[in-house]
Structures are given as C-alpha cells and as structure tokens.
Amino acid sequence: MSVLDDLLLFTALASVAIIVVRRFASVSKLSVIVYALATVLLVKMSALGYGGEPIYSSFTLNVLGQNLYWRFDSLSWFFALITVVIALFTSVFMSGAWAEKYCQEHSTEAYGLLQAALVLNVLSMLVLLASGDLLSLFIGWELVSWASFMMMFLNQDKVARKAAIKYIVYAMAAAMSILMAIAMTYSMTGSLDYVQIMQAVAHLSNTQIALLVTLYGVGFGIKMGVIPFHLWQAAAYAETPGPGAVFMGAISARMGLYALIVIVVQIFSLTRVAAIEIPYTFLNMQNILAWVGALTTIIPTYIALKQNDARYLLAWHGVGQGGYMLLGVMIADSIGTAGGIMHVFNYATYQAALFMAVTAVMFRTGTSNFSKLGGLVTQMPLTFMVMVVSIIGLAGIPPMNGFVSKWLVYRALLLDGEPLLFVAAVIGTLGTILSVYKLVHNTFLGQLRLEHQDVKEAPLSMLLPMLGLVLIIFGTGVMPGVVLDWVAAAQNAVGIAPITHNLGGIELAQGGLDMIWVTGVMFYGFAVGAIVFYFLGGKSKHIHQFDNYAGGHFLTSKVRYHYSNHFYAGLMHLIGGWYKDFFKKLEQALVSLVSFLSQLSENFYRSAQPAVLVAAVAFIALWFIMSSFSMPADTGTVAPITQGIQGGLPK
C-alpha cells in the first residue's frame, strides 16, 4: 500500500461516512477531521513538492488490453494540496454558525447534502489528479463534472438551477470533445498511456497534433471558462450555496488547467505546439493559446466591472484570473510557466478568502446586492480587513501573493518581447483594480444603512479560516520561495526547466524581485506615514458614521446617498457601447438552432398527418433509388445528349 492508496481509499471511505451521517450534527466535525487527515496524508507525500519520484497507486485495472493506473507526480501533488487545504478551510468555515443558520433556513438534509457534495468533489478531484493515463483521466473528468453539478444543483433557486443545467450542457460538450480526442489519440498512437503517447507524438504530423490540441483545448477550456466558453461559469459558481462557492470558485475550474498542462505541455510539449504555424497569419498554435489566455483576462474582468452583486463580481474575476494562468503557462519559458502555475495557488487563497468574506456579509445582512449594502466597515472590521488583503492580492499589488505570480508573468512577457500580450495582461490588472475597489467600497465603505446598524462581526468559526487564509496570502507574498519550491518541482515533472529562485523571489541579472526587501521597505514606508500622521499636527476628532453632510445640506441616515449605482459612470460612458454581448448572442443563436432542429424533427415524428409523412418518406425513397440507379446511366445517356446539343449548335 502506498501513501496514494491511503489517501484515495481514505477519502473514498470518508465520503461514504459523510453521506451516511449527513443528517446528524456531527457531520460538520467529521468533515473537518477528514480534510485535516487528508492534509496530513498529503504532507506525508511532501517529497513530491521538492522533486521526489512519482508515487503509484497499487490499484490498477485492465480494460481492453489497456492498463489503467493512478499516480501522483509533483504537479498533481501541488493541485491536490490546494484542493484539500481549501476544502479544510471551507469545512471549518461552514461548521459552526453558518451551519446552524443554513439548517434553520433550509433543512438538516440540505446541509448534509452540501457536506456530501463537498467531499465528493474533493474525492473526484483527487481521482482526476491521480490519473496516469487518458482513460483514467476521462473517468476522473466525468466524476468532477457530475460532482460539481451536484454542488450547483443544491440551490433550489430558479436562477441557480438554470445555471447548473447550463453548466452540465457545457460539461457534456466538453466531455464529448475530450472523448473524441482520446479516441483519436488511441487510433493514432495505439495507446492511452502518457509515456507511450509521449514517445509516439514524435511520429504524428502537424495536422494531427493541431487537431488533437484543438479538441483537448476545447474540452479543458470549457471547464476553465476560457473565451469563448466563459458564459456558464460565473452564474453557476456564484449561485452555489456560500461555502460551496468558496470551494468551487477557488479550485474547481483549475482542473481544466491541470489537464491542459498534462496533455499539451507534458505530452505534446510546447515546442511541438509552437512549431504548428497557422496558415495566412504570423501566429502559431502556442500564440493562439496564449492569446486565448490574454483575452480571457480582459473580457471577463470587464464583465465583472459591470456586476451589481458581490458574488457575481467575484465569480467573473475567477474566470478572468484563469486567463493569467493559461497565459503564463503558454509563455513556455521557466519564469512564465512558474508564474502561471503559482497563480493557481495564489488565486485559490485569495479567491476563497473573498468568497468567505462575501458569504460572511450575506450571513449577517442576507444580501450580496451592492444596492442594499454599504458602510459595514464599522460593524464588521475584521471581515473588511480580510477583504482588503484579498483584493490587494487579486489586483496584484505588492506585498500580497497575487503580485508575485503576476510579476513572473509580466517579466516573462518582457523577456520574450511580447508587447501586445503584456499590454493585454496589464489592461486586465487595471480593470481588476477598478472592479475590486467597487466591491470593497459598495460593501464596506460609504453610507451604512439604518437596518444594518445592529449587524455584528462574523462569528468566530467563519473568521478563523478567513484570517488563516489572510496569513497565507501575506506570508506567501513575503516569502514566495515557499510556493516556488513546489512550482519548480511541478515544472520539472512536466518537462520544463524549473525556475531558479530563492526565498524572497527570483534573482536575475537583468532585474529580479526580492519580496522580503519590497515588503520591508513598504512597511518602513507605512511606519513613516503613520509617524507623520499620528505624531505630527493637531489631534483629530472622530465623528459618528451618520454625521455627514454634502452639498451644503446635513444628510440624515434616512436619506439614501450611498454612491453605488453605476459606479464608473464616466468610464461606462465611453466603453459602455463596447459591451456587445457578442458571445451571449452567439450562444443564444446556437440554442435556438438546436431547439429549432429538435422541434422540427419532433414535430415531424409526431405529426398526425400521415399523408405528409408518407409523401416525405416516398420522396426520400425515390430520391435514394434514383440516385443509386442513375449513377451508371449518367455517363451513358446524359453526356451524349449534351454533346449532341453542343455539336448540333450552329457555328
């Protein structure tokens, strides 16, 4: 029995246990213990994070002469660690006061199902991450899809159900695309095993590789929500019940990136993909993928800017941040891919913290609608602090961890001489800054509503995981070397030169980064700022939040003056017209086409008019017969006639 066996078996048994005891109050404690133990098992495998040999599961299957097996390499371990740790934080978050309220509002059964969905998601993701060949990858992929669907379907709201259905339709399309790609890979290489395919890839033609990369790319891209498949994700994740959204938003969509790295980077290798030129353009296949990443950073980010609900805003940013990861990985040098892979970790930490903060606000106020919030900073200062630290991470501003991974991506694009991709990445970052300020301003700053006067700070069980995540966000921002160790091992596993780094960042001859120094200088600056503010000048007088005036009038708290609607009016005046809903219309057109065709065939099938049916069948039959009989006759009869006509024409 290897440690991997222990982990998978343990998670599987734990899933059964949680499903069995889901109606009892002890399920909360059980789930926390389960994820904590799973984390311990992952720590036991931590040699993988520092370049250890892959660990194989002793369980294998033999199907049609193909050996199915499961293993963990450094990349899988990295993703698994994020998954399980986020699940641990989520389970603590949902264990206490949140659980009580949810059980009251819904039912104990509903809460138990949420716990079950969470553990099934974790299990299926571990199975996917452990896959050692294409068939086990596909099995894991389907499990993840259905586990996600189960989580989304728990919210009985109409909007949520619709989003879940939309997701599963997209997921099915993705699965078909992947299945087709796997079948083609098998027919081209005669194997489903990663190692054997890797050897066979050298003999494949560029066209074959291009076709496979496209099919796999579409399949995995749908899960990641890259352009043009970005429409399903935001609503599906945002509408999932609080902790579910925390978990799904933080890690679920990254499974697509994992699979993409395994197939495109590890098996096909980016040098091979880069060799495929797209006819009539200056681009190659790798550029196309990088541009998909760049567009995914821009478009969803600016859609997020327009959202009026905190959960939707965050979920749209989740889609956008996926673009940085794809872009980073597709730069294909050691700095860029390190940035892309590291961003998975950084993103998971701050996105989970942000969704937790928003869930805490919803827990206390019952809404995440910007028009109904504002001024909560005095009531929920710690939650505010969590949100500020996380948005600094999300916006990629030092000293939080989001800055480091984005810095690596920028640096790689600079070294590579890719000005347009660089500008695209920066446009995404700037849009993020605007949008996260809107998030924090409309929720926590501005005018406090009268009905929120008695709102209290989030309960301890919800605060603890949030504060823990804040420590990770800040800690790995100051000492990115901790994560970069794991990233370098993961890079090594997929055949990319690992990044040379130290604890504070990376050292490069042409300008490196040392976060320990950067953070130190920043805090020194803040200390100077604090001295200037607190020790120089007169004493300031604190006034109550409701004591305010504007435009020469005292504003009482009964007047709603919180500036939250249409926040970036000036900007929208200019760019508002650029939101054309192009992809939405495309999606609608596809839906209409399919429903039209299905209705047509249904009507035809069920038609109560036999005459039409008989006539149609007769017509088709006649056409079929004619076409099969007239084939040989064609040359014999028609040709002479035309010749005759032509020949008979008077000159």
Partner: protein, 296 residues
C-alpha cells in the same frame, strides 16, 4: 558595518530628499502659474507654511479608522516608492524591485486614498474616487506600454541597469523619441495636471476625493503631492534622460521634466473623465506602440 549604516542613511535620506525637492517643485509649479498669469507668485517658504498650517489646524475631522489608515497608506506608499527610485550615490535597494514593482507600489497610495475617502461616506468623495480610478486606468495603459518598450530596449527591468546603460551609451530620449513623447503625455495624466485634472480640480472640489479632508488630512494629501511630483520627475529622468551622475545634473533634469507638464497645464482647460480616457487611449498609446515597433 558600513553597509548597514549606508542602508539606514538611504532609508532615512531618500524620502527626506524627495520631500524637500517635492516642496521646491510645488513652489515652482505655483511660480510658473503665477508668471503665466502675470502675478508675482508666493514667497519661497510658502509650501512649508501651508503644510504647517494644515497640520496645525483646530478642526480635524476623522470619519473612522480607515479614513486615518488611508492617509497613512497614501503617504507611506510614496515613502516606499522613493526608496526604490535610484538617485545619484544611493541605489542600494532599487535593485530589489525594479520598474514593474515600482509601478505597482505606486498604486498603493491611490488605493489607500480611495479606501480613506470611501469611509467618509460622502457620495461626492466617492464620485471623485470613481473618476480618479478611471483616470488611472486612462494614463496607466500608455505608461505601461512605455515601460514595456523601455525595458525591452534595455533588456532589463532594473532602473539602476537602465541608468548605467544610458550613461555608457546615449540617453533613452534619443534612442526612443516616440516612447519618450508618449511617456511625457502619460506623465501629464499621472501628475493630475490640466487638462487631465478633473478629479482634483479646484473648481470641482465639492465632488472630489478631498471633499472630507480637513486639517492634517489635507496636509497628508499635500505631502503626497510633493512625493508625486518628485516620483514622476525621477522616474522619467531614469527612463529617458540617463539619470544623474551628480546631484546638480540630476536635480536640473528632474526640475525640467516637471516644469514641462506644469507649463503646458496652465494653458489648458480640463477634459471630462471619459474624454480623458479617450485621448489617453488614442494618441499616446498609438505613439508608444509605434515606438515599440522600432525598439523590438
């Protein structure tokens, strides 16, 4: 340990010099404005009097902890930024960050100010922040293209490395005139000078970030402005004018750099926010992209 004393001197002196030079720049700004309007202008020590006056005021209204912390971040972020800017004889820490880090550290003061104003719960203040952040989106895109072009040209993100290269070869402004022009354009927006000053315009004070700032809060913004002018001047000098081999040359360059936008400013009215975005995304972006095409 000489390195540690050197380091401590740098940590102490760099922000202090930045502040003093910034004060002189504010004075220059007012003098230029006065001369263009045929006035005499304020006396030599006026900026210092202003700061002392603001910090010493009786009425100082705080709207809460975040209002205070916002001001600390606004001043502190710039203090940190000054330490990453190499000046003659002092560049020990500049190499730890480089130009990308510096660009992002410079966003911290804006974020701090935005948070502070947000807690004031004055809708007019929030409108001002919405405009200021939009303005940031406007000028940062050409600015970042310029940064890319310069870094790609010197094959380095280290400001110290860029200055060394320029002093050994030629100033960046001669090698990359288009990028230098675009950079100057972006600088105008970054310093919040006319025609791109709607979010801080005196006539719009009732709807701007400063609306709830009294006493030392306003004083903090004043200090922030001195740093801002200095940072803009030094950054541009380091990217395009070869830094400074001695203090005299260095100060001359940064004062000239800051004087140009100020002279331009006083002959312009101001643009609306969306018009600022439009013009910033059109001309400087175009010039910078063509400039990059020459560089690569």
């Amino acid at each position: 340990m000489s390195t540690i004393t050197e380091l401590l001197t740098e940590l102490f002196l760099m922000p202090l010099i930045a502040f003093m030079v910034g004060l002189a720049m504010v004075l220059m700004l007012r003098k230029i404005g006065a001369r263009l309007q045929r006035r005499v202008g304020p006396p030599l020590l006026q900026p210092i009097f202003d700061i002392v006056k603001l910090y010493g005021k009786d009425t100082q209204v705080s709207h809460g902890l975040i209002h205070d912390i916002g001001l600390v971040m606004a001043v502190g972020g710039y203090v940190a930024a000054e330490i990453f800017l190499p000046v003659p004889g002092m560049d020990g820490i500049a190499d730890k960050g480089g130009i990308i880090t510096l660009s992002y550290v410079m966003m911290v003061p804006s974020l701090g100010l935005a948070l502070g104003v947000g807690q004031c719960a004055n809708p007019n203040g929030s409108i001002g922040i919405s405009r200021a952040l939009t303005a940031m989106l406007a000028y940062d895109i050409p600015f970042i293209i310029v940064v890319f072009g310069v870094a790609a040209h010197y094959q380095s993100t280290s400001l110290v490395g860029m200055i060394e290269y320029q002093q050994a070869h030629q100033w960046g402004i001669f090698e990359m005139p288009l990028l230098a022009a675009a950079g100057l354009f972006a600088l105008q927006g970054m310093m919040g000078k006319q025609p791109f000053e709607i979010y801080v315009a005196p006539a719009e004070i009732a709807t701007g970030p400063m609306v709830e700032m009294s006493g030392k809060y306003m004083g903090g913004l004043f200090v922030m402005q001195t740093f801002q002018l200095y940072t803009a001047g030094v950054l541009y000098t380091s990217l395009f004018l070869g830094g400074g081999s001695n203090w005299f040359e260095f100060l001359l360059k940064i004062f000239v750099v800051v004087a140009i936008p100020m002279s331009v400013a006083f002959v312009f009215p101001r643009y609306r926010t969306e018009d600022m975005v439009r013009i910033m995304w059109k001309w400087p972006v175009m010039a910078a992209l063509i400039g990059i095409a020459f560089v690569l």
